[in-house]
C-alpha cells in the first residue's frame, strides 16, 4: 500500500527541491518533482536592465559557478553585437572560468559525501575550496559572485604576485586531490553506496538530454570546450574525461578528474598569457537580431538565447540551464529504488535548484 511522502523542502538534505515519492516499504515506486521554490524571475528582469547591469544578476542564477554563467551571457551579448575581445582578455576569462569550475566541482563533491554521512570529505573539500576562493578574491575582488567578465573583456588585469600564488595553490591542489581519491573513492563503504546506483545507459542519457559530466560518465564523448571551442580553449591542451559505467560513482569520478584537468588548463593559460589590452569598446545599444550561444559550465551545457531590440535592454533573454535538463534524469532514475539511494542520485547528478528555477 504505497504512501505518499513529500521528500520536501523542509528537509535537511533536499535542497530547494520537493520530490513527491510513492513509497512502499522501502522501495520508491514513482516520483514527481515540484520545482519553483526559488524562482526569482531572472529572465524577466533582463528586460529592465541594460546589458552591463545584468551581469551581477546572471551571476546570482548560480552562485557556485558564477563566472561560467556570466561568461555564457556575455558571449551571447558579444555574438549579438558582433565584437571580439582581445587575446589577453580571452585567456583571463579562461582562468576565471576554470577556477570557477574547480570551485563548483569541489562543492559538488562536498555535497555528495554529505549524503553518506561522511562529513570528513565535506569539510576537506570545503577547506580546499577556500584556497580557490582566495585566488578568485585576489583576481576579481569578491569570493563568490565575481562580476569579473563583462561585455567587452574583463574588468581588471591580474594583480602583482598573482602568478606565484596561483602556482603555489595549484601545485598543492594537484597533490592534495589524490588524498581525496584514497579517502573517498577507494573507500569501500562509499563504493558500496554509489556503485551501481542510478545507472544511466548511453542511449538513455542522450534521449533524456542530460548534459555535462553526467553525460560523459555514461560514455558519450562530448564536451563543448573541445567540440565547439570558444575563448582560448582551442589553443589550450586538455583531455576530456569519459567513463563508461554511468552510475553515481562514475559521475563523481568524472568530476574528480575534471578538477585535475582544470588545474592543467589554468597553468597553461598563466604561462601563455599574451600581452595586450584587456577590454575593447562595445556599441552602446544592442542591435536587432537573435543569437544562441552555448558554453560548458561546471554542471553542463549552458545555452543563452538573446533577442536584441535596438535599445540597450534586450527584448527577450532565455537561459537554458544545465540543471533543468539533468532534472529529467533524476525523475527517470528514481523508480523502483530503495529510499536511501535518492540523496545519492540527486547529488551525484549535481542538480542545483538555483538554476532550475532561475
Amino acid at each position: 500500500m504505497p504512501i505518499r511522502v513529500a521528500w520536501g523542502i523542509q528537509h535537511p538534505m533536499s535542497g530547494h527541491l520537493t520530490l513527491y515519492l510513492d513509497v512502499d516499504g522501502d522501495i520508491v515506486l514513482n516520483t514527481e518533482a515540484d520545482v519553483g521554490y526559488t524562482h526569482r524571475g531572472l529572465e524577466k528582469i533582463a528586460e529592465y536592465r541594460n546589458f552591463i547591469q545584468y551581469v551581477p544578476v546572471i551571476e546570482r542564477a548560480c552562485d557556485f559557478d558564477a563566472s561560467n554563467f556570466a561568461l555564457g551571457y556575455v558571449r551571447a551579448v558579444e555574438a549579438l553585437m558582433g565584437i571580439e575581445v582581445p587575446e589577453r582578455a580571452k585567456y583571463l576569462r579562461v582562468i576565471a572560468a576554470e577556477l570557477s569550475r574547480i570551485m563548483s566541482h569541489l562543492y559538488a563533491q562536498a555535497l555528495l559525501s554529505m549524503t553518506g554521512g561522511f562529513e570528513t570529505m565535506t569539510v576537506w573539500s570545503a577547506n580546499d575550496r577556500e584556497l580557490i576562493l582566495d585566488l578568485l578574491e585576489r583576481l576579481s575582488g569578491a569570493r563568490v559572485t565575481h562580476t569579473y567578465i563583462i561585455p567587452g573583456g574583463v574588468r581588471a588585469d591580474i594583480p602583482k604576485g598573482f602568478k606565484e600564488k596561483a602556482y603555489d595553490v595549484l601545485n598543492y591542489l594537484e597533490r592534495r586531490i589524490w588524498d581525496y581519491y584514497k579517502m573517498l573513492f577507494q573507500n569501500k563503504t562509499f563504493q558500496d553506496r554509489t556503485m551501481g546506483v542510478g545507472v544511466l545507459s548511453k542511449q538513455d542519457a542522450i534521449e533524456l538530454g542530460i548534459t555535462g559530466p553526467n553525460l560523459r560518465a555514461s560514455g558519450v564523448d562530448f564536451d563543448v570546450r573541445r567540440d565547439d571551442p570558444y575563448e582560448a580553449y582551442d589553443k589550450l591542451d586538455f583531455e576530456v574525461v569519459v567513463e563508461k559505467e554511468g552510475d553515481s560513482y562514475a559521475r563523481a569520478l568524472v568530476r574528480f578528474y575534471e578538477i585535475a584537468q582544470s588545474i592543467k588548463i589554468i597553468k597553461q593559460a598563466l604561462k601563455d598569457l599574451p600581452e595586450g589590452p584587456i577590454r575593447c569598446k562595445t556599441p552602446p545599444m544592442l542591435p536587432r537580431g537573435e543569437t544562441y550561444t552555448r558554453i560548458e559550465s561546471g554542471r553542463g551545457e549552458l545555452g543563452v538565447y538573446i533577442v536584441g531590440s535596438g535599445t540597450n535592454k534586450p527584448y527577450r533573454l532565455k537561459i537554458s540551464a544545465p540543471s533543468f535538463r539533468n532534472l529529467a534524469g533524476l525523475v527517470y532514475l528514481c523508480r523502483d529504488i530503495p529510499m536511501g539511494d535518492i540523496p545519492v542520485i540527486y547529488y551525484s547528478l549535481d542538480i542545483l535548484l538555483l538554476d532550475v528555477d532561475r
Partner: protein, 369 residues
Amino acid sequence: MNLPISLPTLPNIPGLPPIPLPVLPPPFDVLIEFMQTSEFMEFAVELSLKLLVFPGLAFIMLYAMLAVWGERKLHARIHLRIGPYHVGPIFGLFQLVADGIKLLGKEIVTPERSHKFFYHLAPVLIMSLSMITLAFIPFFPVGPGEYWTIYYSEYSLLIILALFSLRPFIMIMAGWASNNKYTMMGAMRAAFQLLAYEVPLMLSMASVVILAGSFDLAKIVESQANMWFIVPCFLGFIVFFISTMAEICRRPLDIIVAEQEIVFGPWTEYTGMEYGLIMMSEYVDVAIASFLTSILFLGGWHGPGLHPLVWLLIKMGILSMFFMIGRSTWPRLRIDQLLDAGWRKLIPLALVQVFIAIVLVYVLKVIVV
C-alpha cells in the same frame, strides 16, 4: 514487647511526664530495628556508593563529559577543525554542561495527535535501559569471590543479552507514538537492524561462554587470567565489535538515525531534555559496549601492576576511542547493505568461531573449562 533497643522519646520538659513516640505496629518496628544494625548500614553505604559514584551517576556524568569532549575533538581534528573551544578549562571540556543547560531551557513539545503517554515514556525508558545494563557488570574484585557490582548474578551475561533485546521495542514505541510517517518508517528499520544483529551478538558471546564454562561475567574474567580470550577468539572479537556497533546504532551503521539523511529516524520529534536523554543514552551505550568488549575478550581487570579498576578503565577508554574514530572514517551503509552484512556475512563467521571454540575445549582439550 521487649525490644533490644530503646525507642526515642521526646526531650524532658519539666512539669510534664515523659512522652514516648508512638509505637509502630509490626512489621515496621522490626524493620526499623533491622535498619539500625551494622550489616544493613554497611550494605546501604556500599549500595549508595555504587549507585551514586561508580558505576552510577557520577561516573556516568563524568564519562559522558569526557566522551562528548573527546569525540567532538577527535572528529574535529580529523576534519582539520578545532572542535569545542570556549567552555571549560582545557578548551571546551565542559561542553556537555553547556549543552545540558541549553537543553533544559528548551520547551518540551508534544506533537498534536501523538499518543502522549508512550511518547513521553520512550526517552525515559531508553535511558533507563542503558543504565540498568550497567547494574549487572562486575567491575573489579573486592575479595575472594566478591565483586564490585550492583547485583551479582550467575547469569549476568544472559540478563545483559535480554536487555539488549528490549531495545527495538522502545524504538518502535517512540516511532509509532510520534504520529509521523518518517518516524514510523525509521522505527521499522530500527527493528529490522537490531533484530538482524542480535544473532551474531549471541553467537560471538556463545563462543566466549564455551571457553569459559559459565554465563557469569566474573567467572569469564577469572578464566582469562592466563590468556585473554581475544587470542583464540579473534574472529569472535571482530564479530562482537561490529554487532555491538550496530546494536547501539553508531556510525557507520546508524542509518536509522540518519533516515534520508538527518531527519533522525524514530527520535525526530523530541526536543528539550528528552532529546538530551536520548543523546546521553547513546554515550552510556558506548560505555556499556566498551565494558562488555573488554570483559569478554580483553581480560577485564587483569593486568600487571596497577589496581584492577585502573586496568579496566584503560581498556574501556581505548575501545571507546575506536567507537569514536569509526564516526569520521566511513560513510554510512544503506539499510539493505546493513541487513545483508548482518545476516549473510557475520553469522557464518560467528558460527566458525563457535566451532573453533568447541574444538579447542572438547576435542583438543587445550583449554580447560
